[in-house]
Subunit: 416 residues, 2 copies
């Protein structure tokens, strides 16, 4: 029987569903200071303890007025208001504005009591030290940011699952929230195995190569918002391999086993993972990436850890990681946006076999306003076909390829 | 004269060009270990010291052969080869393959001398311990990765200016390069100023607000690949303000002055920056973001530092940072890709005035296969209009708005 029929192949979508129905990224939490919230995911709703702004503020340089006093004002028939001084920045004005009175305000000044709008300085003229002419009417609320208009007290201002960008840090700062609870970065163990592998700092003997998958995955895990942990290289020796997997299962939420691509290594990985946990699937209809397997293994406390056996070829390991593992690591995000893509015109035909999802490496070429999408063909063993590529074009399970000249979406490996 | 005509407004593109023609991000370099190369930009070409792989390897499980021996082989008329044993993984085979001989190989095995191709195990049958039947011919080079096929010795394998992703780490590892030279993260000083501002941990008095711009910019600088440095809040007091700017100029390559939005603060910023350095521009035709100014200030060693006065409104400061400063911080990258965008259908009309470039905050709504793009309208003082948004749609200088229903590109604030 041909080897390829020996494992039951499922689609990438089915593989994702199998993982999600048997395992969920555990929600480990930690508190971090404001500056360390960057790029983290909130694990609690943030409720505003107070209004922002805490008082009505001018959004323009000009004059605080009672809007009614300006109704009907025009160039030919200005409204004349009595100037009652200036509101100093950062200070509460003691003065109360009465009918036909005004105070000078700067952008950000607190509005004096009695005022409900601001006239831009450009729409006024100072007649004398005590008199301002207003040439245009303003509506109540015009040119001011009202108390609580940005954030209302007791409002949920940031939801659990929000990715903290600069603007979320700004909101936290504006509310005086200097510490917040976030999800811990998921720990991802990376184990490379195979008798032919040596560490990067070693010189390989003939027949040996350096382990590159560990480092490719290290970077890919970081990009996906995880914390990678590299384990020492394991030869194809059952006891040592099992011990390393068990150690990694204790120390991580996800374990990636990769490296050796020989049938011996694959069989050993399958055998040990089958003994240690529950096999979810073995084989996916993705090119490259077919010989991927997933198991769920319990650690000593009974907690499930996901252990994924990635294909040995570097390109296959990387593409499979992106397709199956990366979405898991982002699982605490409240919303997953449609992936950011660059669109462009395909320069060559991409042939593909229906019945498997194909991820084709491509590079982008800017040509004036146009973006050309150039397939980077190359064996799955060639890491440089990944460094030459900016991302992938996906040919769906049903499609039989893509025609040169067609407009395609490129999912980037990393946004610049 | 209306205040808005008091400064000479230039377009955002002109502003970018002015900056670039007067200032370049200095190339400070450092050496980092392999694991720390992630997300850094290479400052030197990386030349391969050796071939990868260092020997011809099998990419399949099967039998190493001399391709000529399989020519004409078929199901009905197989080629029979003499099995000379198995190549152990990670070891150089001592055996030499002669005419009509073969050795068993696994994926990744070194090819024995005399072999130039591999027959997949599925295309063979083992007749007895010494005889293999081959049912299909292979071409020379088939199912092998030849010595130096991924990387050739002395080849420039990664160029100066490359952003290191996982796959670049993998290439470095495969070459045994465990240390490499990268550009230092650009130091970006952030100064907030304004009498109305207090630090986030303080409780503002009436008329005061907490400084949020510093933290919004902190995150934005991190996203752009810079190293932010926050300075203490400065009141609108000339001596202290000047001293803080001079300190920041010594310690950074770029300094952002932001915070206070009052005319007093703006005038003070302009006055001091005009005294300290060369004013490049004051006022850009961007909404929001008009009152932006840029100067180049020499530090004590005569090195130029770029000092940008950002608008005080949080939304304006953020958008201006993204438009003018972010591209500078990425300036060491060899290539800037077209920005990754999500495309979708606009739900509402966006009005805009020709003659200025408008950046409209939008949020994405997934609706089945469709992506809807919903404008988030809101005053520039409302930080929550930024937290509610996923990115911006840009209305160009010439356009007079965008119509509901049209397909637009959303430049994301951050890719998920």
């Amino acid at each position: 029987m041909p080897r390829e029929l020996m494992f039951e192949v499922i689609t990438a979508d089915q593989a994702s569903e199998k993982i999600l129905s048997h395992w969920q990224l555990p929600a480990r939490l930690e508190r971090v200071g404001l500056r360390d919230t960057w790029n983290r995911i909130l694990s609690e709703d943030v409720v505003a303890p107070e209004d922002v702004p805490g008082f009505s503020r001018s959004t323009m340089d000009g004059y605080a007025v009672n809007a009614e006093d300006t109704f009907g004002a025009s160039e030919s028939l200005p409204a004349y208001l009595t100037l009652r001084g200036e509101v100093p920045m950062g200070v509460k004005p003691e003065q109360v504005i009465d009918m036909d009175e005004t105070m000078a305000v700067a952008t950000g000044s607190m509005l004096p009591q009695g005022a409900n709008a601001v006239v831009m300085i450009e729409r006024t003229a100072k007649i004398d030290d005590r008199t301002i002419a207003v040439f245009r009417p303003v509506a109540p609320g015009e040119n001011i940011l009202e108390k609580g208009e940005d954030v209302g007290a007791n409002q949920v201002v940031l939801r659990r699952g929000t990715l903290v960008r600069g603007q979320e840090m700004g909101v936290l700062a504006s509310l005086g929230i200097t510490e917040v609870e976030v999800f811990c970065l998921p720990n991802v163990g990376i184990i490379s195995t195979g008798n032919e592998l040596v560490e990067p700092e070693k010189t390989p003997s003939p027949g040996q190569i350096r382990d590159s998958n560990s480092y490719t995955l290290y970077g890919a895990v970081k990009d996906a918002g995880g914390q990678p942990h590299l384990y020492r290289l394991v030869p194809d020796q059952e006891e040592e391999f099992r011990a390393t997997i068990l150690k990694a299962v204790e120390e991580n939420q996800v374990v990636l086993v990769s490296g050796g691509s020989s049938v011996g290594t694959r069989d050993l990985t399958l055998k040990i993972l089958n003994q240690l946990g529950e096999l979810l699937f073995h084989g996916i209809a993705v090119k490259p990436g077919k010989p991927t397997l997933a198991t769920v293994v319990k650690d000593s406390s009974g907690t499930n850890t996901l252990v994924i056996g990635l294909p040995g070829h570097p390109v296959s390991a990387f593409i499979t990681f992106r397709r199956l593992v990366e979405p898991l690591l982002k699982g605490h995000l409240r919303e997953l946006l449609p992936p950011a893509c660059v669109y462009g015109r395909l320069t060559k035909n991409i042939p593909s076999q229906a019945g498997r999802e194909e991820h084709v490496r491509v590079r982008l070429i800017s040509q004036g306003e146009q973006v050309l999408v150039e397939p980077v063909f190359g064996k799955s063993g060639m890491l440089t076909s990944l460094t030459a590529a900016h991302g992938v074009v996906t040919v769906s399970l049903e499609a039989q390829g893509l025609a040169a000249g067609s407009e395609v979406a490129v999912k980037l490996f990393k946004e610049l």
